[in-house]
Subunit: 297 residues, 2 copies
C-alpha cells in the first residue's frame, strides 16, 4: 500500500507511551513532541532533523556546495519556524562511491559559518545505493523568556502572513535558501504576538491545511494578496504555482490582528472558525488546490 | 579517488572557523566538537547522530522491529560512550516505495520505550534509491557534576577494559544490540575513574587505534585476555574474529589502574607511551590486525 508522510507521523505519535522498563527512571515529559517543525525538550532545547536526498531534493550532479547549503538551510528553517535560534548542527552523510566528500565537507563548514552555527560532528557511512543523502540535525534555544511558536496556536481573527514571495523555487532558488533567522529576530524584538508558525517546504497548498488542522481553525485566503515570486513564469496559472510549487522555505505565520506585520511580510488572509476558502486574483471563489509535494512510500 | 570516513572527518574538522558573518552573534564555544562519539554542547547537552542503511548495516528483508532496534541502539551506544544518559531521539527515515512504515514506526516507538528515551519526532522522506535508511539523533545529559568520557583522556598505565565478549556479531547479534547504559550507571556511581571511552562499532582492531591516536598514547594488548564471544565459530583464528568482526557495541574503556574494573568487564591490556603491541593466545607477539569495518567512498 502507499503510505504518506502524514500517516507515518500519525502512526508514530499514536503509539502508546506504555510503562517505562523496570529499573529505569522515565525521562522528564516532553513539552513539544512529534508533529511540529521541531521538538521542544524538557531542558529547553529546540531539536529537529531534516533530510535531503539526491533525486528527491536535488538532482544528481548538483554542486556539493549547493547541496551543503540546502541541507543545512532546510533544517535551520525548521528552527526558525519555532521562533528559536539555532546554535549547533550535526550532519549524517550517506556518501556513494566516488562522491567528492571533501567538497561537501568544505561546503558544510562554509555554510555552517554563514548560518552562525557550530558544525559539531556527525556520522559518515557508505551509501547502500549510490545515492547521496544528508540528514542534518539542528539544536538551538528560544530567546530568554520566550515560548516556541507552534502550529497549533492560530486563533480566529489572526492575520495569516507569509514572509516572502512564493512559487518557482524548484527551478533554482531552492538551492540558495536562506533560513529566515532575520525575521525571527525582528519578530522576537517587536511587539507582534505570533500565535502560530511553520515553515513552507511543501507548498502553501499543503502546508497551510497542516497549520489549520493543528490549530483546529479555518482560513480565508485572498489569492490577489498572495505574493508570487518572479521565478514563476509569466502566463499560465501563476497563483496555482505560488501555492503548489513548494520548496519556498519562507515562514507562514498567524499574527494577532492588533499589530501590523513586519516590513517585507505579506498578509494573505485571515484565520476563520473552520473551512478553507480561496478567492482568485479576480476576487471570484476558487477551490483550494490539493496539490503540492508530499512524500509517499 | 577513494575516501575514508576518517579522511572525511579530518576534512570537516580542519576547516577554519573563520569570522562570523556581520551582524550575527557567534554561538558559545563548543566544549567537545567533531571526532568523539558525541558532541558536548555549551548548554551541557550530549548530542550525536548515527545512520543505518539497508545493505550496509542490515540486509534487505530484515524485520522492521529489528531495524528499529539497531538504529536506536547504535546511536544510544554513542551516548553511553560519553558516560551520559540519553533522554530523547529523533528519527530521519528514508523510506522506499512499498516499505512497511507502520511496522517500522511501531518498532521505533517500542524500542524508544525499552531504551527509556522519548521519540520526539523526526523527518520522513521518500528514498531516492529504493534503499531504506534511518538516521537517529540522540540527545542526553551527563549525570550532575560529571564530565564526559572522551577518547582523548587515556593515560599511560591505564587498564584497557572491554565491557563484554567480542566477535561474531554480524551473524545475528548486531540486531539485538543493547546499549551499555547499565555499565554507565554502574561506573558513574562507583569510584572507578574512567579516563577515556568509546563504543566498539567497527571492531577493536580499528577502534582501539582511534582511541590511542586521540589520547596520543600506545597500548599493549594481551590476546589471551580478549574475551571472545561464543558467536565466533570454533576453529580458525578466533582472536582475529574478535578483533576484526565489528558491530560489537560494547564499550572500550581506559580505567585508572588503582581500581578494579566492574564485574562483567575484562582487562585486555594496558596503555603505554607509544606503539601498539599484541600477543596471541600463546603469548607470542603477533601483528595488530589492520582489518575491521571502515566506510569508504
Amino acid at each position: 500500500m502507499t503510505f504518506s508522510e502524514e500517516q507515518f507521523i500519525r502512526w508514530i505519535t499514536a503509539q502508546p507511551a506504555g510503562p517505562a522498563p523496570a529499573g529505569s527512571a522515565p525521562p522528564a515529559p516532553l513539552p513539544v513532541g512529534p508533529g511540529d517543525d521541531a521538538a521542544w525538550l524538557a531542558d529547553g532545547t529546540i531539536l529537529c532533523v531534516d533530510t535531503v536526498v539526491e533525486g528527491v531534493h536535488f538532482s544528481a550532479g548538483t554542486d556539493p556546495d549547493a547541496i551543503a547549503r540546502k541541507a543545512l538551510g532546510a533544517c535551520l528553517s525548521d528552527v526558525c519556524a519555532m521562533g528559536a535560534v539555532a546554535e549547533t548542527v550535526l550532519v549524517a552523510a550517506q556518501l556513494p562511491q566516488g562522491c567528492d566528500g571533501r567538497a561537501l565537507a568544505m561546503g558544510l563548514a562554509r555554510w555552517a559559518r554563514a548560518f552562525s552555527v557550530h558544525l559539531a560532528g556527525g556520522d559518515t557511512v557508505s551509501s547502500g545505493s549510490g545515492v547521496l543523502a544528508l540528514s542534518v540535525t539542528a539544536s538551538g534555544h528560544l530567546p530568554t523568556g520566550c515560548s516556541p511558536w507552534l502550529r497549533s496556536g492560530a486563533k480566529v481573527g489572526d492575520q495569516l502572513v507569509v514572509s516572502g514571495p512564493l512559487g518557482g523555487s524548484r527551478a533554482a532558488r531552492h538551492l540558495q535558501l536562506r533560513p529566515r533567522a532575520d525575521l525571527v529576530a525582528t519578530l522576537r524584538t517587536s511587539d507582534v504576538p505570533v500565535h502560530a508558525a511553520m515553515d513552507l517546504s511543501d507548498g502553501l497548498a499543503i502546508d497551510l491545511p497542516r497549520l489549520l488542522a493543528a490549530s483546529a481553525v479555518g482560513a480565508a485566503v485572498s489569492g490577489a494578496q498572495v505574493p508570487i515570486h518572479s521565478d514563476v513564469p509569466l502566463g499560465g496559472d501563476r497563483l496555482q504555482a505560488a501555492l503548489c510549487d513548494g520548496e519556498d522555505f519562507e515562514l507562514l505565520l498567524a499574527l494577532d490582528r492588533s499589530c501590523p506585520p513586519p516590513p517585507g511580510t505579506t498578509i494573505i488572509g485571515q484565520v476563520t472558525e473552520s473551512g478553507l476558502t480561496l478567492t482568485g486574483s479576480d476576487g471570484a471563489p476558487r477551490p483550494w488546490p490539493s496539490q503540492g509535494f508530499t512524500h509517499a512510500f
